[in-house]
Amino acid sequence: MSVPGDSIQDDPQLVRYLLGLLPEEEAERLDEQSIVVDEFAARLECVENDLVDAYVSGALEGEILARFESFYLASPRRREKVRFAERFLAAAGRAGGVRAPAVAPPAAAPASEYQPARADVGAHTAPRWLMASSFAAAAMLLVTCGFLLLQDARLRRGLSDAQREGAVLGSRAQALAGQLDDQRAANSATMKELERIRAAQPAAPSASIAAVALVLLPQARGVGPVPAIALEPGSGTVAFELTLEAADFARYEVALKDPATNRIVWRSGVLAPRATSPATIAVAVPAGVLKPQHYSFDLSGRHATGAFDIVGSYAFQIQSR
């Protein structure tokens, strides 16, 4: 019984408890723990198993061996534990390819009823569970190999499909890149044309183009007077700044309406909100479309799908000067 790290050596007190060697008071304390404390109960079971295994493998000596035989083996239940250990260790030893544990010599058995298992019984054959396990393992291996072959073929097919798709996507990407280049070139040409037109235009008063003529708030019920603006003669465009209640869209569009006829007299292009607080939309309306009367802007937000939602209405009045 000189196995370093073995629970028998680690817990000599438990060994003494199992062999009935502790004083009554101490034994009662451990009795209580063996029922009440889970960890202790588990540990005690481990130590008992190791003690029995040590006996079965002939590792007990001296006083411990004597006490094991005179006390421990006195109980039928504990003798059955020893018998179980003999069979179990033999089976485990065969499964592990090592020799079966040495059974304690018959002479050592103290109790008249205890007869250690014959060493030859069952020792010459592999345990049935082991044979069954081997067959099961072989069958499992065959199934696994078949599955892996199928999986391999499937993966190869998948790989070639992916390569084909990759090639198609590659050529599609190339085509898109070409289109993008064409678009860039067209934009560049448009920009140049715009520059040319601007340069060709007669010099207009810059203030009338750039100045913010009117800041408009979203129309609400029961508000007071409609904001008004007087057009200066010769104005090219009139600038408006529409205050947003919420910048829910990345793109907007504005329609100028004649409220008397509900007819749209002018429509903006796509506009982006300014990152101010609150967010605003700047609109420049050609002065030529405006007459002295009431107007309203219908502001629409553009969804990613291209659809528009009207998000606000801004009324104003043009006055003659």
Partner: protein, 205 residues
Amino acid sequence: MDVLIQEIEREEPTLTQVAFTRLLEWLDDGTDSHGETYLEMRRRLVAYFDRRNRPTADALADETFNRIAKTLEKCGSIATTPPARYCYTIARFVLLEDLRRGRRSVQFDEVRGSKSIEWGRSDAVDEAASAHERRLDCLDRCLLTLKPDQRELVVDYYRDAQRQRIDRRRELAAKLGITMNALGIRACRIRGTLEACVDTCCKAR
């Protein structure tokens, strides 16, 4: 005769379904273990009585439960917590009573024991060999009922002798990423399950 005395002195062993269910609930102490707590507690009680060398450890464990069930029936609840502590208290009384009874019947036991040894010795040897075969068969069957990883663990844990065994256990613990102590407890549990299975199998055959 001693059996008769025990039958008379022992508490009424029958337990109604309602009382048994109540006992299970009390043992579970708020959780639902599906009877696992009862089985574990019974196993501990049997081991306790057996360590005290009582020949009828199973019956004493059942008697402990019967008394607790009756208390639950009469009082509605038991204040002592955890339930395991109360189990030990009752078990200790049951043990002391059984020890007193044992002293009264010891002579009869000794006489009966000596007679059974003299009676039919060759028949007994044949019976032992047959029982051994049955147990081996049961062990094979029960090993097959374990999950493969449990079977592998318990075989690896117990397969070697002496020093090799310690090294293997250390390797196993490292492989599973657990401490040696945790590995030991896990292997013990599986071995306990196996042992109980073999016991049930042998009794059934």
